[in-house]
């Protein structure tokens, strides 16, 4: 039962030793601080505290950064071991493939959670200190951190999936970059194009919001925006959020990590080391 923890422990050591944890945390802190200070201008005009504006900015940041950081750790996890020839040895031990994957996932998620918490936490604390905070904006910050970790979990699992499907770590890296581009950039551009073409027809009113929330990155954005009025105002994205039931975005963001993990596990089971 505790075998997956042995894997977790080794993976944690690796993340700490190859400086991934340090670099990821630094990136999070720097970007979050930069956005907090750069985005503090509209506070007066919108009549919300600085932390609220900061959370709105950081939500936009996290949509790009959380999937990127997650894919950066996970793309190598299976393909790298196959390349090194160490996967065959690992699989000759009593631990099952599910345990190995769970062990890696636990370690990687813990590292992501650390980077997110420290990064957003620092920026949030700075914003609250300089521009004030209320119970609502603190809740928004907490929600941002938790949903960012969930979003990271989705892309960790998808990274394992690609790592199991790819032939070699280099191919896995390429596929991961493609996946990131599709989910975070191209998907939204495509939807935008469809909405423009449709000119406010049935697609825009009934289909579009659902297609949008099916993408975990958009579900993350919607969840954070819909939940807090202030954040929605600061980000100027209220329309799509109002067209959906409240549960849609949370369900999407909670189902995706599980779905991704199951898919990754199924692909991993087919890997012949």
């Amino acid at each position: 039962m505790t075998r997956f923890l042995a894997i977790t422990r080794a993976e944690m050591l690796i993340l700490r030793r190859n400086r991934w944890l340090l670099v990821a945390t630094l990136i999070m802190v720097l970007f979050a601080l930069a956005l907090t200070f750069a985005g503090s201008a509209p506070t007066g005009t919108l009549g919300v505290d600085m932390l609220t504006v900061s959370v709105a900015s950081m939500t936009t940041l996290s949509v790009y950064l959380a999937p990127l950081l997650a894919l950066m750790i996970s793309f190598d996890s299976i393909a790298g071991d196959v390349d090194r020839g160490s996967l065959a040895l690992l699989l000759s031990y009593p631990s099952g493939r599910g345990e190995i994957l769970l062990g890696k996932f636990t370690a990687h998620l813990a590292a992501l959670a650390f980077a997110m918490t420290v990064g957003f936490g620092t920026a949030g604390a700075v914003a609250a200190w300089f521009g004030g905070a209320g119970p609502e904006s603190l809740m928004a910050l907490l929600r941002l951190i938790l949903t960012s970790i969930l979003l990271g979990a989705v892309f960790l699992a998808l990274g394992y999936l690609l790592s199991a499907l790819a032939r070699g770590a280099t191919a896995a890296a390429g596929l991961s970059a493609g996946l990131w581009l599709v989910f975070v950039v191209l998907y939204d551009l495509g939807l935008l194009g469809a909405v423009v073409m449709d000119q406010g027809g049935t697609f825009t009113r009934s289909v579009f919001p659902w297609v949008m929330v099916a993408n975990p990155a958009d579900a993350f954005r919607l969840w954070n925006i819909a939940a807090t009025e202030g954040v929605a105002m600061a980000s100027g994205m209220t329309g799509a959020a109002q067209a959906l039931p409240v549960w849609a975005a949370p369900v999407s963001l909670l189902v995706w990590p599980v779905l991704g993990f199951v898919l990754a596990w199924a692909a991993f089971r087919r890997v012949e080391p």
Binding site: I7, A10, G85, A88, L89, Y93, P94, E272
Partner: protein, 297 residues
């Protein structure tokens, strides 16, 4: 069948349209050391991965003790050293071996094991700084974890210097002494010769030989090579013995194991004319070449 640690019966494995393992039957008893020889691509690694349950097979059965390959029991009972093993470069030798110990569920003396394979000085250095031979030793240390019933070593000597090879075979003897069935896939024929109880030869996925070295030699009927150095006249010696002149002063003749004593008597009878005699029994190389080239009936 229960006295066999490893039982393989009529195992087949296809890769696309090509049959890479064909009707392989091989038994290894506890404490027995069997060398698995074959060219690159003969199917040695495929056979080992099949025994580990890492790849699906297309017919036949494999049993580790009584357990099916890949089952929890089989994986607990087997130890494996992959060909040209590699580990994550960021971990130290101690951390890597501790991980394997935890995975196998054994309480292991990690520093002791690393000392046993000569890595005591490199205990807390990153594996990234290890040489190929040191990585191979680390791989060997994890084979010693627990008390395996079956040890599968794929090219264990690759990248090892001669002294390390000696150490390696000492460790293999120790494993066999503890009752493990040891299967060694190898190219390093000369060492396998002295260090194994039985030799199985694979040729294009077919087992062409499986016996002790002595029996294989007799079966193959390979000649013993006698080199006689003449004191004065090598031509005359060659004429009397019926061999070939090989250099200025020597004559070489080949004889079957059955005719060996007769040939020696004839040479001894020539008295002073013979300065020296050298006798070379068929080497494993010759045997290997014989069986690996022979067409299958």
């Amino acid at each position: 069948m229960t006295d066999k640690a490893l039982t393989i019966e009529t195992l087949c494995k296809d890769r696309g349209p090509i049959r890479v393992l064909s009707d392989i039957t091989l038994h290894v008893a506890p404490g027995e050391r069997v060398a698995l020889l074959g060219h690159n691509g003969a199917g040695k690694s495929t056979l080992i991965k099949s025994i580990l349950g890492l790849i699906p097979t297309d017919g036949g059965t494999i049993r580790i003790g009584a357990a099916a390959p890949g089952s929890a029991q089989a994986r607990r009972d087997t130890a494996y050293l992959p060909e040209a093993v590699s580990f994550h470069p960021a971990l130290t030798g101690r951390e890597q071996l501790t991980l394997f110990a935890r995975l196998s569920g054994e309480r292991a003396d990690v520093p002791g094991l690393l000392e046993r394979v000569g890595l005591a000085d490199a205990l807390d250095r990153r594996i990234g700084t290890y040489s190929k031979g040191m990585r191979q030793r680390l791989g060997l240390a994890q084979v010693l974890l627990g008390k395996p019933r079956v040890a599968l070593l794929d090219e264990p000597t690759s990248g090892l210097d001669p002294i390390s090879r000696q150490d390696l075979y000492a460790i293999i003897d120790e494993l066999a002494g503890q009752g493990a069935a040891v299967l060694i896939a190898s190219h390093a024929l000369t060492e396998v010769e002295a260090r194994t109880d039985r030799i199985a030869i694979l040729r294009k996925g077919v087992k062409v030989a499986d016996d002790t070295l002595a029996n294989l030699s007799a079966l193959a009927g390979l000649p013993i090579r006698l080199r006689v150095r003449a004191r004065e006249n090598a031509d005359a010696l060659a004429a009397r013995l019926g061999g070939n002149r090989v250099n200025g002063a020597s004559v070489e003749l080949l004889c079957s194991p059955a005719d060996k004593m007769e040939a020696l008597r004839r040479i001894a009878a020539m008295g002073e004319a013979v300065a020296d005699l050298e006798m070379t029994p068929p080497k494993l190389e010759d045997l290997y070449r014989h069986y690996a080239r022979e067409t299958v009936q």
